[in-house]
Amino acid sequence: MSVDPLGEQESGIRATVERAFDDAVTRLDGVRPSALVAALAALVGALLAGLLLVGQSATGAALVFGGSLGVATYLFNSDRPLVGALGGVVVFPVGVLFAAALRHVFLASSIQVGATAFVTMGLLACVAFAATLAATRAPGQGRTWRATRRTGRVVLAPVLVFLVVVLPDLGVAATVVGALGAILGALVGHLLATPPTFAALTFPLVALVAALTVRRALRRVPIERLVPGERRDRVVRALYATQRPFLYVALASVVALLGVVALAALAASPRTRMLLSPLPPAAAGAVRALVTSTPLRLALFTAVVLGVVALVASWVVGAARRVPADWVARLLAPTLGGVVATVVVAQALVSRGAAARVSEAVGGVVGPLGTLLRALPPFGVAAVLLFVLALCATLALFAVVVFGSVVGSSRATGPALAAVSLFSLALLGVLVTRSVAPLTVGALSLFVWDAGEYAHTLREELDAGSRSLRAELVHLGGSLGFALVVAAVTAALAVTAVGAVATANALALVALLLAVGVGVALLLVL
């Protein structure tokens, strides 16, 4: 019997295409209309808030960036290595869009305006991120964190290309090693508060990293297996109880970090001395002693190192147990996609002269970084540029992970992220514009949560192709109708009562406060 290899190949490709098509149809069939309506409402709300706060261009940049983050997250959550590799390619455009969005912040006329624009654009990006993923199971169930980890692997791609292509030149290698040593030395010195110039800024950062690392190690490393079986339950309970304080430390560190950044923005300097100057001398002394304490810093560093070592050891043991080829392919796919993208894009940048222009632009940078950049050939500069872009994408995704964990709903993460971001935008809009328009964004935020959480519930309770359209239409109709009624009532309140309250009528203010208090009490009691 003769076999036609070409025919076999064609039928294989056809079968693959047919499977991909069927897969896409199945996925689309599983999308709940409520999720799409919630996504649409979220985007409309984000557009309104963005136009009110940062203007058309910045809003567009933030929304596109958020959408691209969503696409990357979706791609990185695929189990297919090819799709994961495509995610490795997409990371670099995401970094470019991040830089384009950040440009609007740096163009702000003042630090206050810049900070407002930064927060607004971050929230807009979160809304777009959640809206892009509305039809999927992401960003919940650890999917954003998974995408962050895989994006982190893409960061390795420019480094690998750099090592292979640029470092064989011994002169460049010596310069790079020297410059990196100097940069790392300075960085570690600041993190250890020697010198203590930026100690107030670095302390919450080190505490945050230490708390997150130790908490993760406690969660991931199977410590209970080291004790006899009869004591395992007790150890598991103890480990679980131990995790919570680290979460509180991490959240406190985030709050402290935000506070320090805000203070630095107000003081126009991140130096410890400037940051502590508004405090009373006694309090300033205590804070200085805390943030510059070398033993404490060393303890935090030790905790980070131990946590990382335990995590890596646990990962290696786990990896050794599951060595199937598909697992290895999934592991390496993002990095390989990133390597391909790095080589192609870096070569394109070199051939078009863009890398040389970047070299000229950074020629004025002083210190070890400047030395490093000036010593690199154009291809090396392009690789460094791509490394920075991938790092930006990773940091952006990590920021979404942190914000998502602060938002709190581990079940309906996407709708919660979109609704909280929109409501925060409404608050920001009221604060900045002092107009009634942001109330619309507030009403939309509640509708987004209602519709999105309902779609999420349906997705949990039903199978992918189960019918639910009629129930969804009824729910959406009721929710939208109620949103309109509440929005009308609040608008009427704003136009009539608030005008009087804002000027002199303290009685009306008290009445409003009472109404809010009664509402909160009802909420808690019922």
Binding site: A15, G408, S409, A416, A419, V420, F423, A426, L427, V430, L431, R434, S435, V436, P438, L439, G442, A443, L446, W449, D450, Y454, T457, L458, E461, L462, D463, G465, S466, R467, S468, R470, A471, E472, L473, V474, H475, G478, F482, V486, A487, V489, T490, L493, A494, A497, V498, V501, A502, L509, L512, L513, A515, V516, G519, V520, L522, L523, L524, L526
Partner: protein
């Protein structure tokens, strides 16, 4: 009744807006706080649904054959006076019966007196399977409270998968009892065999009067005698020898059992003496001449399976040979996943028992490398069996069993 606190976050939002309003002196924040509170209060004050629903279940076809899909329909009717804005229905298909199409769950809104249908298809394995109850969950419009109930549907409560066969390949090895197998021996029957000289006592109706009229010779027409046979089915029920196709559907043991039960039914109807045994539990078990009890006998044999690990076909053959009467022939139903059937056939042949093999092809449905390798090995075993003179039927699952059996008739078997 369950209440969900899906608006807890709204309280936080309202509190934040209130604090912001107090801190900045901007009363618009307080107005903004009214929005989440409105949603939360309406959600908290929404009533708890009390659904009055009935469910009726029907199955089409009511008694599917193995491999055949049956559509299960649940008709859910709102018997109450009020509409149900959100009703979830979750069917409970029989355990071990795969759902191959449709969905077992649905959500809908049901007006008073309205009926909604939920349909799904199952492909049951051989046997009778019990349906479970249907779970219905009703939510209020704000989706903050739900009531869940378990409803026993009216209509079908079980799903039965039948096993019947219209023909089987058998070797030309009959016994001295009247049956329906034509033989090469002249005697009583309906098919022409030969013509011989008239002997005293021959029936007048058998005299060839045409020949007598033309030649004057008195001759008698003899007919091909039909006799009964003894057939013993051997079901290869070893768990580690079974194969299953990708996706849902019966495995090789289901198909073998199906073929045996159908063969039994036909053979017992035609007065043949039939027995059933399994590879893991070789016992003498003759089937009474009744269709219903024949099917039960096969199912009993399959259920009696000891799950014993057996790899030596010669040993099985020797055990079986001690139980078989002379001239009994054996039909082995096996997926041919190893060499046991070949050594079994060889051993039985040494004891003068004819063996036929019927093998469902479970390997061609999947396009994986493993299935391809398994398929090649199976093809080699089929070839070796045929080379040794054993009629082996390669049962392609895309064709009816009767079509596959036609191959064996040309290769030496005899149709009953």
């Amino acid at each position: 009744m369950t209440r969900r606190r899906r608006w807890r976050g709204a309280g936080v939002g309202a509190a934040v807006a209130t604090v912001a309003g107090l801190a900045t002196g901007n009363a618009l924040f307080l107005v903004l706080a009214v929005l989440p509170l409105g949603y939360a209060v309406v959600g908290a004050l929404s009533g708890v649904p009390d659904p009055e629903v009935t469910v009726e279940r029907s199955v089409d076809p009511a008694r599917p054959s193995p491999g055949e899909a049956a559509t299960v329909t649940l008709a859910v009717t709102n018997e109450g006076d009020a509409a149900i804005p959100d009703l979830h229905v979750a069917a409970d298909p029989p355990e071990g019966v795969p759902v191959v199409d449709g969905e077992t769950r649905a959500a809908t809104a049901l007006g008073a007196g309205e009926t909604e249908r939920v349909e799904y298809a199952v492909r049951p394995p051989r046997g009778t399977h019990d349906f479970g109850d249907v779970t219905v969950r009703a939510r209020n419009l704000a989706a903050t409270a739900s009531t869940e109930r378990s409803v026993t549907p009216e209509g079908a409560t079980t799903l039965t998968c039948l096993t019947l066969l219209d023909s089987m390949p058998l070797r030309d090895q009959t016994i001295q009892y009247v049956g329906r197998t034509p033989t090469d021996v002249s005697g009583s029957g309906v098919e022409f065999h030969s013509v011989r000289d008239y002997q005293r006592g021959d029936p007048v109706s058998r005299i060839d009067w045409n020949r007598y009229a033309s030649t004057g010779e008195l001759t008698t027409v003899t007919l091909r005698e039909e006799r009964a046979m003894t057939v013993v089915f051997v079901l290869d029920d070893r768990p580690d020898a079974q194969l299953s196709a990708s996706g849902y559907g019966p495995d090789s043991l289901d198909l073998s059992t199906y073929a045996v039960s159908r063969g039994l039914s036909v053979l017992t109807d035609e007065n043949h003496r039939v027995g059933v045994t399994t590879v893991t539990d070789v016992v003498e078990s003759w089937v009474p001449p009744s269709g219903a009890t024949s099917t039960a006998a096969v199912e009993a044999a399959a259920d009696r399976s000891s799950g014993r690990v057996r790899a030596d076909g010669g040993e099985v053959g020797r055990e079986l040979a001690t139980l078989l009467p002379p001239n009994a022939q054996v039909v082995c139903c096996t997926p041919l996943s190893d060499d046991l059937p070949a050594s079994l056939a060889e051993t039985l042949a040494r004891h003068d028992h004819a063996v036929s093999v019927l093998s469902p092809d479970m390997t061609s449905a999947a396009d994986t490398l493993g299935a391809a390798v398994e398929g090649l090995e199976r093809t080699n075993r089929l070839t070796e069996l045929r080379r040794d003179g054993v009629p082996a039927v390669d049962w392609d699952l895309t064709a009816p069993l009767a079509v596959a059996l036609a191959d064996v008739f040309e290769s030496g078997g005899r149709r009953l």
